[in-house]
Symmetry: C2
Subunit: 163 residues, 2 copies
Amino acid sequence: MAKTRRVCHLLLRFLAFAATLAAVIMMATSHETATIFTVSFEAKYTNSPAFKYFVIAYSVITVYGFLVLFLPAKSLLWQLVVALDLVFTMLVVSSFSASLAIAQVGKKGNSDAGWLPICDSVPKYCDQATRALIAGFIAMIIYIILLLHSIHTVIDPLLLRKS
Amino acid sequence: MAKTRRVCHLLLRFLAFAATLAAVIMMATSHETATIFTVSFEAKYTNSPAFKYFVIAYSVITVYGFLVLFLPAKSLLWQLVVALDLVFTMLVVSSFSASLAIAQVGKKGNSDAGWLPICDSVPKYCDQATRALIAGFIAMIIYIILLLHSIHTVIDPLLLRKS
């Protein structure tokens, strides 16, 4: 039973690692050059602070997710992992939300602010950024599940009454 | 000692509640009418999906924060509060990040996407949204501190070795 749970846990962590890695690669390699009237411009993730934040945050959690895969089952560092999971999940939630907000403006624009959608001019760039956000969303959900599971495991009514 | 900690904990929760309430009120009441050339437009939070999300998420956590203030110290529901704290803190981090990303575009614009800053046209609206974001940031930090403290309290090496 304990072994099955351990395998499930590692599998979820591996999936999260793969999803964050895919999100970073897709977001970092997304670029497209478009010409509107006579002005040529290149759409890439460095144009938007939110997308830069996405790439940095997801890179950090990719490295972290990779390292945690090699942590021995009996290590006392697992205590620290719960706190680190929390901090890194916050980072992922934050960068995902910021990027989604910007992507929404890129897709739909904002008529009140006079911001036009850009996805008609750079459809390939938009598609790839969307795929990066989907991978990022999957990773985020897995990390939230891992975190809720950790909290469920470590919170024991007896312990709470003691403290 | 336990009583001092309990008072500190309640004080932090009250501050978080006050900050989320202030953030909701400031964001929801922010509006300004501006005339650019001959076009008149009203800037208000409902113009942006991210700001609407901010108001909804912070309203939810304001109600939650208010209810938790009246939870008895010995209640077994405190176990549930740790998990709820986690979910609601994620919600707050997410809505704050999305709103900050949009506010950044509103303030600085994005020359690559051709999105012009709007804060020069509606400075009062921008100032009030900024104040709402500052209150939201304070609330977010307090909830993260509460969450890290809960995790620190409930994670006991002995328990982890048992599980």
